[in-house]
Symmetry: C2
Subunit: 385 residues, 2 copies
């Protein structure tokens, strides 16, 4: 990860000129006042851009995440607002128009989507479709002249990621990945603890994310749409965690599939997967991802202590502790905080920090494919920088 300098807490807290929102300094209790926080953001925003300027976001794909996380989050954002929707289901369009007061001219289906180019209400397209559809819609959005946020994983294969990055570059638009934790305060704090070696050098990371999946008909269990199983869905957080607490890129990986206990449900994708990264300097990590068992933890063992988030990757609130005591940070709405931080950069005509861009998405997709290769071959896979 090349983010250690651009991504330090110092920059994070440097105030209005920095790329990240000036969240309150460390030491906040978990009884943090969210209203006060939002009022501070609003004041900053007025100072920078005037009262009314918010970027208009169109959500593409109105599934669970758009419905239950992004749309509610967009009711709290200071730098962006829910301006449009793209859906193939007329009944959903009707519901959303009413609920969120979206004008008919900002509603598209997948055929009419490209006309979004002419819509000045829409500045940013947020692609929330199944993984296999990310590339097409990111590229079409860029070609329509919009900035793009794309849910993770950026795509299934590295080639698609590169095509998406190239398309955005060609259109002179920016591409962000839905890594909502990169601006989340507990996560920022463990990035700082690890990358600034607060407990000495990180020696070992245990990072795991899994849950017991329900509905056996969902697209996450279809290889063609998801590209894989829990690794693609939540294991990617464990990859991210090991990378962002060490601030390092792995140099090799071993991996092992767990057994399938439900052959029907897991006909197409893995049920459980383990992998071990080696990083420069002999730093190691061990990870588990699963659709059969709940697990959610990011633990770092350092030369002079340890720190941990558990829960580490869910929608929050996260919870953390160190060998010296609890981690106390403000609790924010992850998705609102994420979109606000991205849109503040865009409004400011600045460049998104590397750790949130398509390049970062490409890194994880490469690693996920290497993990699958390691598990399939039983061999250690060397990773190119």
């Amino acid at each position: 990860m090349t983010t250690s300098s651009s991504f330090s807490r110092r920059n994070f807290l440097a105030g209005l000129g920095a790329s990240a929102l000036a969240l309150p300094a460390t030491g906040f209790a978990n009884s943090f006042d969210n209203d006060q926080y939002l009022a501070q953001l609003a004041a900053q925003k007025r100072e920078l851009f005037g009262q009314d300027r918010k970027l208009g976001i169109a959500l593409v794909g109105l599934g669970s995440y758009a419905t239950n996380q992004l749309a509610p989050g967009l009711q709290q954002t200071q730098y962006c607002r829910l301006a449009g929707i793209v859906t193939g289901t007329p009944a959903k369009a009707e519901q959303w128009m009413q609920k969120y007061n979206i004008p008919k001219q900002n509603v598209y289906d997948y055929k009419t989507f490209d006309r979004i180019a002419d819509n000045r209400d829409i500045d940013v397209v947020y692609v929330v479709l199944p993984n296999s559809m990310h590339a097409e819609y990111v590229i079409r959005a860029a070609q329509a002249g919009k900035h793009v946020i794309c849910e993770k994983p950026l795509a299934i294969m590295p080639k698609e990621c590169q095509d998406m990055i190239d398309a955005c570059k060609k259109a002179n638009r920016q591409l962000a990945v839905g890594y909502r934790l990169h601006y989340e305060p507990f996560t920022r704090e463990v990035m700082r603890l690890g990358q600034e070696k607060v407990f000495g050098k990180v020696k070992f990371v245990e990072a795991s994310d899994g849950f017991r999946i329900g509905d056996p008909t969902q697209w996450r269990l279809k290889k063609a749409m998801a590209g894989g199983g829990p690794l693609m869905d939540v294991g990617i957080y464990a990859i991210q965690g090991a990378r962002y607490v060490t601030g390092l890129e792995p140099v090799s990986v071993t991996a092992q599939f767990g057994p399938k206990t439900d052959l029907q449900k897991f006909k197409e994708v893995e049920e459980t997967l383990f992998w071990q990264f080696q990083f420069p300097g002999g730093v190691v990590s061990n990870s588990t991802t699963s659709y059969a068992a709940g697990v959610e933890r990011l633990y770092a063992s350092c030369e002079n202590g340890w720190f941990e988030l558990s829960p580490a990757f869910g929608y929050g609130p996260l919870k953390g502790r160190t060998s010296k005591g609890p981690i106390e940070q403000p609790i924010v709405h992850h998705q609102a905080n994420h979109m606000d931080n991205i849109c503040k950069v865009l409004l400011n005509n600045e460049t998104l920090p590397d750790h949130i861009t398509g390049q970062e998405g490409l890194r994880d997709v490469r690693l996920m494919q290497a993990i699958y290769q390691a598990a399939e071959t039983g061999r250690r896979i060397d990773l190119k920088a």
Copy 2:
């Protein structure tokens, strides 16, 4: 593990006739009154065996564990007492005789050790020597007509374990392993939670134990004496943990060595090791052991919740929580509690439960050798029941 029935909390708490000491029932706060606990044990013991009858234990090898854990523990025990010592260092013999009021005739060196056969003060020999010496001294102790407790790992190779088991059987003496956690209340509680399926079936276990080793000259880093690195020393606890919360024996294992970051210190043994067990029914575990990083946790993900000990394996106090709240149990002196439970069985002329015997030690030694084989070959190793 064939212990689920003999080893349930019900039996554990069934009172004086059961093989385990009748510890207080669940729900005790951590402010548990140790004095009251000891007084209860003493009262039970008087009732069973009369005031003065305690088994005499001789410690063989007066290293750190004997000095700092076992001897102080033996000042708290109700069913046994520190009666003798075996040491090759005359200055240590002098110190211990004075400190613990040990008569000269109960002090042996490694040449005179076998004369312990004639010493009626000594009922039990506790072997606390380096791993490579366990077999010889266990067998000599049995041949001298003594019951034996042997530190874990029981030995380095399965053949040695079998020889030890056979020698004790032939001498009609009992052989226990220094698995001090098998009677520890937090550990008993997680055995119960897992084996009695309190949160449903255990699906996944993450069990890890490691620490940053100091003195590079110690025997634990010499392959001939230790038989291996952190796996033999503390990784064995993670193996035990995965087995005793599931109540199952693994059917296959994969394993991977971590890199060596200190080639001098880790010239002969591994620095870090990862392994993954598969158990019957698709239950899986993932583990890390290391001499380079501190980690100590036993986490079980179940169908309807989870439970965790962290710290899970150290000398205490352990600490536990579940998806429903904290685990509250009495805090005991691990070693005193362990020796008392073993000696109560011996005093009672009962048979030690399987989970604490040489057979259990042999199981772990077989698994450790399979883990090394898996790491060395890169292959999944099938385990015979």
